[in-house]
Subunit: 346 residues, 2 copies
Amino acid sequence: MQELDERKRKILNAIIRNYLDTGEPVGSRTISKYSDLNLSSATIRNEMSDLEELGYILQPHTSAGRIPSDKGYRFYVDNLIADKDREVTQMKEFMIEHTERVEHVLQQMARALAANTNYTAMITAPSCQRNKVKFLQLSQVDDEQLLAVIVTEGNMVKNKMISTREALDNETLLKLNILLNSSLNGLSADQINLAAITKLKEQAGIHSNIVSDVLDALAWAFEEDEELQVYTSGTTNILKYPELSDSQKASELLSAFEEKKQLVSLVNETLSSGEQTGIQVYIGDESPIQNMKDCSVVTATYQIGEGMQGTIGIIGPKRMDYENVMDNLKTLKVQLDSVFQKNKDK
Amino acid sequence: MQELDERKRKILNAIIRNYLDTGEPVGSRTISKYSDLNLSSATIRNEMSDLEELGYILQPHTSAGRIPSDKGYRFYVDNLIADKDREVTQMKEFMIEHTERVEHVLQQMARALAANTNYTAMITAPSCQRNKVKFLQLSQVDDEQLLAVIVTEGNMVKNKMISTREALDNETLLKLNILLNSSLNGLSADQINLAAITKLKEQAGIHSNIVSDVLDALAWAFEEDEELQVYTSGTTNILKYPELSDSQKASELLSAFEEKKQLVSLVNETLSSGEQTGIQVYIGDESPIQNMKDCSVVTATYQIGEGMQGTIGIIGPKRMDYENVMDNLKTLKVQLDSVFQKNKDK
DNA sequence: GTTAGCACTCTTAAAAGTTGAGTGCTAACA
DNA sequence: TGTTAGCACTCAACTTTTAAGAGTGCTAAC
């Protein structure tokens, strides 16, 4: 029924674990001694030969040990990792009791994650696509400029300058603010449709052009959010792994981290994967980002009610410590969930 | 009178220019053929021997060509670079006509600079140390949270959440806003002294604790500004230069770029150097950042009236194209000056 | 089915040899 | 006195050789 019997699984497991440790191809003798199978190296060799034929492991060259193939890693991730109960990590101390700027929390998280794992960490701010406006305010900053401040449910603060022909008087401003708040509060981006906009403009009367600008600002804020808010940390960690640190590959990878836009496709892929509760693992070519074909990427989404969600990701060599990484991600995911939940309850 | 006669200067110049091109030690024969001095390699050798004794050039090992020493580069930068008139670069197109968020402008600038030079670029936002408050507003975001929005003269927007025990009514909020604006507008950080604070609190009456929080927020905003607002681009460019791209050095440098805090000392050094109009060049050990002892750093400050200023920097190998870099910086400096000036005039 | 043994392969590291750019020095020249 | 040609010498970098070691596949015996 199964492609791999118990013994083959044990051997594959042993090979991969060993390779994760050392980064060196692992030979039959090593397994024979290391594992609790009590088999001679010759027997292991036979099994390895089978495993290679089945595509789970491969030889970098004749008469070298074996290394896991992408398929091998995949099997490992799917079947061989024990789902061990995770303890609370020291990350907890980064949790902020009082409401702080979300951006800082995320940057801290990324830092902790990178330090914990020795790989590269990325975190995106919760996507605002279906996020709700909590508070909105226009202020006259100087004669020709209005400042629009937008606060979302998740306590993200956005602001945008709006140029105007001339200053508005206080009363008008007050009215506009009341109007905007009463009309838009509690609405998410996709709830602000044409009908709502038309009605709003109608009510604004001669100031409908300002309303227009505010809506633009709103759209811009949401959009910017989705495109750019990616926090990374530990990008230089990849230099620690010889298989990634040659000039060519390292440069490509680091550029991808610097130009955060590229990371967005990773996020989109993760978000749209349906697998929203668990953890996503992309091994080698499975990754949506071409530059990362020599890496593995592990992602998780964290969620806040109402479909608002963000992504956490770890990028490292294929031989990353999947168990530890997945563990870390799970923990962080839970914590982020609860942080944002708390803020929301307040 | 001069330590170096005309011929030695020419030879030194030729050596450095050649080395900048190739990155390889340059030998006597090369100079003999390449320069317009019409001297045999033997003569050049004699001169080189002198130059070495004087400390301007050095040999990586016996029987290799010569490379410039830090002192050599220094002489080159100070004396040998022609101060050519710079044309308008394509950077102009990044100039934003309408008032946009400063952060974006700076990030764009950094990108352009890095692309232009093939080195790493950094730009700091104008320091707020002596920056003035232009506008300040408190808003009740929800029952327990106030949002303080601060806009400075340079159109930097800062915001900070303030937790309160209970919601304030509209009228109180209005009064507080008026009080804060009338008291603080036009003041710079160092003008908000104890006397001003005491008076302000007095006027705030029972809400003096909120005023306290606002002042904290203000201090925090200014502080954060100074510590973190550094935009970098092209960090991976250093991998293009073999002398910097070995794992060890590259990793140190890239970490410095990632942890932007380290770059702050560079800024402080530059700002406090007095040399406010021109361009500062740190060669090798001259750099205030230890990690950069194998690099050269070129910085410029741009200014906005009232002592508000920021820093632009280029980090690259010692054999960077100083002429081009200094040119780029000068151009950008002028343009930044004018952009901010324009915003201010508006 | 498992294991021991052996011949064979292939990488890696070290050693030895080769090359060539570049120097320093000396002696001759203008 | 400054310049140049010539030559012996040095040293990094490259190539080749050699040796060692890890690991395999296969066969034959248990």
